[in-house]
Symmetry: C2
Subunit: 333 residues, 2 copies
DNA sequence: TTGAAAGCGGTACCAA
DNA sequence: TTGGTACCGCTTTCAA
């Protein structure tokens, strides 16, 4: 016996229960006082194995019950943490979560926002490290609520959740200095990204204030690949740094490798700090000190901002800034 | 000037272009020969900034344009790889991807499959390590196409993609033996999971065939947590093993830590092999030998199976088995 | 080639 | 409280 029955609709339930489809709808949505009718409808629902069509409901209500979370790269630990946390909050609030890997390309980003007009989701959490004016404009024009995760320089008409990248770099430098480092290197991300730029500026500011030697010890990468980091780390070690800040935990791991390859030791000869406080940092040998940018907190707040808007609260644009904190481990002791 | 215009529908385009809505629909779907009408419609579309409603289209076509990928834990490297690859294939095929974190609970799994009747997605890639008979039954009854990623003992009426976990363990043991290990330990996953059971059996078979000492060196964990692995590894080291197979890369990393904590060295005193060939394995110190279970290949095949079904190809149930391969690195040399 | 109209599966208004 | 019915946006059949 094939169970692949053609879909049962509300009509079938109504027929089976001997009532009108309106009554079925009401019964199913808890708008019926009549116990007997309710019973008949429930029996009929069981009998025909009725399940309301999400598509039909969406059509009527113009709500999909879905939200999207867009990140440049889901492989990146902090985006992964953010996505997971959003998903948790949304799931609790009764929304399904659609995952979008943007690749970080700003043209595609704009297309993504524009595509929201198709109304395939009720709202969007959008993460970007390159918030161009065009992108901002497109988000402001969006009919679908968008919450942006990322740092902006201007005031905007939508909700924003960000972290203080400059402060993150500062925490790292101050820690390294307090541990006795006097010649600190930076392996930074691309300067045309907001976090890349901010961490660079934070590093420079904190380093010069501390009076440590640093100016020749800055390497800016075009990407965040481990191999690029390895190359950069090798250079820094040749210049005799005694402390390095890696822009991500992966880049910091590359420093651990380079130091070992050079026959030196972390933290004896070189102290290392990473950024993201990812699992990779916790499990590294030696365990890696890392700046936690609060990806989980950002995810939670962004998701809460969005669910709030989706519930119809039409407040002024909200902003949340998560403060980074340093998690000290073996690699910088 | 607010851009938050209320949605434009096909009617607005029709009115603006001075044609019927049927003509607009045809023009938009490339079913019009008349160049002038086409032009008028396109102009009207631009003028009113019309974007077809996904909801309206879904309602008519009974297709959502979405597929779901369900995994027990997105944090797990191999599931992550699988999800990413599925997403890539689906995106190319014009489908959006919804991510579902199941948590691996089998009751919830059944609810998930049952929930498909709501028709919120067109198809599902489902990953499980505990394929209960009830679950199988539910999948077979599903009206929505499901592709299962995981090993099954029985023949089923849906597509399945799996890997050979037994062979994976065998590869690892044979490699360790060939490197000179004579007392090999296993840190295994729960035996009530299919991969946990299969890896255990593969390990036992390969170890006894090789004639190496192993029987007292098996620790089966209740979970895959790093800390549990650390504890287990400590025990194995006290028993004097010279080789360890960790059931996942994370567990293998815990062995690296435990060996170091014991003042010993990998691979000099203990050789270590993990499973998953994750980024964590590539970046570990020392770099970790790992069994690649072909997560990416499985993701690709599963996604292709599903898109094929969604395109209406109603073939017999397909099965694909991905062969594991070993990636030898420093930790076992 | 074009337009009119039915219908996909629900919800909610209105009248009984 | 209940049933009849309009309607959400789009595709597609059918007739002109």
């Amino acid at each position: 016996m094939s169970r692949k029955s053609s879909r049962m609709t509300i009509k079938d339930v109504a027929r089976e229960a001997g009532v009108s489809i309106s009554s079925v709808s009401r019964a199913l949505n808890g708008l019926t006082a009549n116990q007997e009718l309710l019973q008949r409808v429930n029996d009929a629902v069981k009998l025909v194995e009725y399940v309301p069509s999400q598509i039909g409901q969406s059509f009527k209500t113009q709500r999909t019950g879905q939200v999207a979370v867009a990140v440049p790269d889901i492989s990146n630990a902090s985006y992964l943490a953010l996505v997971k946390e959003c998903q948790r909050v949304f799931s609790e609030a009764g929304y399904r979560t659609t995952l979008i890997n943007t690749g970080g390309n700003s043209g595609d980003d704009i297309e993504l926002i524009r595509g929201l007009r198709q109304k395939y989701v009720d709202g969007l959490i959008f993460t970007t490290i390159r918030p161009t004016p065009e992108l901002i404009e497109e988000i402001e024009a969006s009919e679908v609520p968008v919450v942006l995760v990322g740092s902006l320089k201007t005031a905007v008409s939508f909700d924003v959740v960000s972290t203080d990248s400059k402060q993150a770099a500062r925490l790292a430098v101050e820690h390294l200095v307090s541990q006795g480092c006097r010649k600190i290197g930076l392996i930074g991300g691309p300067l045309d990204t907001v976090p890349g730029r901010n961490r660079y500026e934070g590093f420079v500011a904190a380093a010069s204030e501390s009076g440590v030697f640093f100016e020749e010890n800055i390497v800016i990468l075009k990407d965040f690949e481990f191999d690029s980091g390895l190359e950069a780390a090798k250079r820094l070690i040749e210049q005799g740094v005694d402390g390095v800040l890696g822009s991500t935990d992966i880049l910091a791991l590359s420093v651990l490798h380079a130091v070992r390859d050079a026959g030196l030791s972390v933290p004896l000869n070189v102290r290392v700090v990473g950024v993201d406080n990812s699992e990779a940092a916790r499990l590294a040998i030696p365990r890696l000190t890392s700046i936690d940018l609060g990806a989980i907190d950002r995810g939670r707040m962004a998701a809460e901002f969005l669910t709030s808007r989706l519930s119809g609260f039409d407040s002024a644009p909200k902003t949340a800034i998560v403060r980074p904190r340093i998690v000290v481990r073996e690699s910088s002791l």
